[in-house]
Symmetry: none
């Protein structure tokens, strides 16, 4: 089944308004084993809308629209589709009744303009809207397009979601094929291109699955989709040895979730001393519910003064080692671990720019991990801008902890 989504509204083209409806619908379709082949956002222009509907009728079996069902002058999704398909609009008695009841319950009278919402193209069926006044439309086999289904839903997310769950998804379930399953593997510490090379052979052995690689500054995700859970499990088993220690986890969650969950499972605690990442690592961890069981706290030691005052580093030694140095990162890790009595202490120092500082070039990064068996450290040079250095620095620190502590 070829499915496309059409989001209607000029605000989607000209303001910061994101089309979140289609993202939600995409996930619901995936659970039915279905997927969009295309999503389009278009403005409230009669001509543009008509052209898009004509195209969609030639390339898709199921057309989902959101928006343009309201009472105002710039709402004409139904009118436009009816015109393209040469269908008359007629008042739907149930829709009229529902609208009158909606207003009566609020002790108000519907404005005259609202009655156009009760109009329905001939041959189509109304989808009731229990949380608003705009009914949707279910239109099967419109004239000249046998086998096509058109579903028009409101643009208000709450109304759209309710209509989808109650009335659209149940009808589609019967039409859907085999549900699709997803295998998601999170990898850290390897650049995307190197990973792509390394997994090529094993991916090709599983080329009947639908593969996607998503790289961010902190991790790489490998996604495979297929209808046979056994095929996905076979892929997982084949990938495991190839990814080795670089595999952070399988399933939901990111690098920081994996580290937090791993420590929690072992009852171990963590404290961090962040210079260059400036609280980013702490902030990512504490965004996760239940973080307080593992994360004791940290020091954002953004100045030499803070390193001395909060963690008790020796000022003379610090001046000698330099604030951006391996020795200082080790001091930070060990001091914060000892102060908070944590199982693990991470220390991060570096220079995120914009200019070189105390002999350390932009991008210089030192990470140290103090643990029950001593302290290890890592020196890196991170290319890119301030955000790159901070995000990658955070990820390298979490990944060092993950590897050394052998979580997971």
């Amino acid at each position: 089944m070829r499915i496309e989504c059409i989001a209607i509204g000029t605000e989607l083209l000209t303001t910061r308004r994101l089309d979140t409806n289609s993202v939600w619908l995409g996930e619901r379709l995936a659970s039915l084993g279905l997927a969009f082949h295309r999503k389009t956002a278009v403005g409230d222009s009669h001509e543009d809308l008509a052209a898009l509907f004509r195209e969609a009728l030639t390339r898709s079996d199921l057309i989902l629209t959101t928006g343009g069902l309201g009472p105002t002058f710039d709402d004409f999704t139904k009118e436009c589709f009816a015109e393209v398909l040469g269908a008359e609009l007629r008042e739907d008695a149930q829709s009229r009744e529902d609208m009158l009841a909606f207003y009566a319950a609020r002790k108000r009278v519907p404005p005259a303009s609202n009655f156009k919402q009760a109009l329905l193209p001939e041959g189509a069926e109304a989808l009731r809207n229990p949380v608003g006044t705009a009914p949707g439309v279910w239109w099967e086999n419109p004239k000249g397009h046998p086998g096509v289904r058109i579903v028009m839903m409101p643009g208000v997310p709450r109304e759209m979601k309710r209509m989808w769950e109650d009335q659209v998804e149940p009808r589609l379930r019967a039409l859907a094929g085999t549900p699709t399953h997803t295998l998601r593997m999170v990898v850290a510490g390897v650049p995307e291109s190197a990973l792509d090379e390394r997994i090529r052979a094993v991916r090709e052995r599983h080329s009947h699955l639908d593969w996607t690689i998503l790289a961010s500054l902190t991790q790489v995700e490998l996604l495979a989709r297929g209808s046979d859970p056994a095929a996905l499990e076979a892929a997982r088993a084949d990938f495991q040895p190839v990814l080795g220690e670089d595999l952070v986890g399988v399933g939901e969650g990111n690098l920081e979730d994996a580290v937090l969950a791993g420590l929690k499972a072992r009852g171990e605690t963590l404290a961090v001393a962040e210079s260059v990442t400036g609280g980013l690592l702490a902030s990512r961890l504490t965004a996760i519910p239940g973080a307080s069981e593992v994360f004791l706290g940290g020091a954002t030691v953004y100045s030499a003064k803070a390193k001395v005052a909060l963690l008790g580093l020796d000022a003379a030694q610090l001046a000698q080692d330099g604030t951006v140095s391996e020795a200082t990162s080790r001091e930070l890790a060990e001091k914060v671990r000892a102060r908070l009595g944590a199982a693990w202490g991470l220390g991060i120092t570096g220079n995120a720019g914009p200019s070189a500082e105390g002999g350390a070039p932009v991008g210089a990064l030192f990470i140290a991990l103090a643990g029950p068996e001593g302290t290890v450290s890592k020196a890196l040079t991170i290319p890119g801008d301030r955000v790159d250095v901070q995000l990658r620095g955070m990820a390298w620190a979490l990944d060092l902890l993950r590897r050394v502590s052998r979580i997971g």
Copy 2:
């Protein structure tokens, strides 16, 4: 000029990945007095991509694409457009050189697969990518489509934005019509609906401008667009007294930028002690270049232990006051200010959930500011989930500092 945007990547159709690139591009176009007539997201399917490119060539004068320029198997935007237009792909010497330099700077050798990124359709021009390895493409008047311009950019937002700002927008500026100017006013400490009511009359006096209100968890932005700079200046002058102290700033920048810039201008420093916000405030401040001149550091005191060990709070007193209390927020603010010798100290404590803690319900928030003239504090209840409490808590703390210190 008919402009359309094509975002390429299966992840945009099947995962939670939102197409934020096209939203950003829509805003940049608006500043040039231009707008999209359509935006499409399409997967990494050769057939779907080719069909879409063929259509776009018939209906648009300017086609902007994002994504599909990377080195992996599922990147083929250039290849596909070249095929549709019957153009050969040839290696671009500068692009090859740039890529080799990019890898050399990182002491790595490019994988063989990377060289396809240096390929360019004949007749097109490469757009250099200073922050990544995938060059973009500027293609004017492709064979059979005189007057059409195609611009291909990477999908990585940071790379796309840089390329747009440095190379694409300057070329488009010459083609654009009357430029649109924007007045942007940032407001904090007022709910969107209350603000909307308060400004209604003055907004109606300036209804010839195109108004948008964008609310986030940390601030509200008022945007006005128009072609006459004098009309925008008149609106600013009229809004200023109505917004009063709630006006954070006019122009670029957010609440955190305004606070940092205000303190920097006065040569004053800041230290923070964060419990419930867990490093978020420190992280937001240190994401701003030059933060180190103002921000000395902070303590992420996510446990009672950390409050005692890092800031020297009295354990017995803390147990008596409770970790989530006004008294503790004041202690945190004063202690961190004194320890780091800062002009201002902020203390934030609260409960972000998921469950009530030590008598404090989810959403309870206490903020204190210690300064040269003593300590002030504020108690709030924040509705919503964990992220709401952390983001709003951060914003309330910054706003308290902004108001008390009379920055700006």
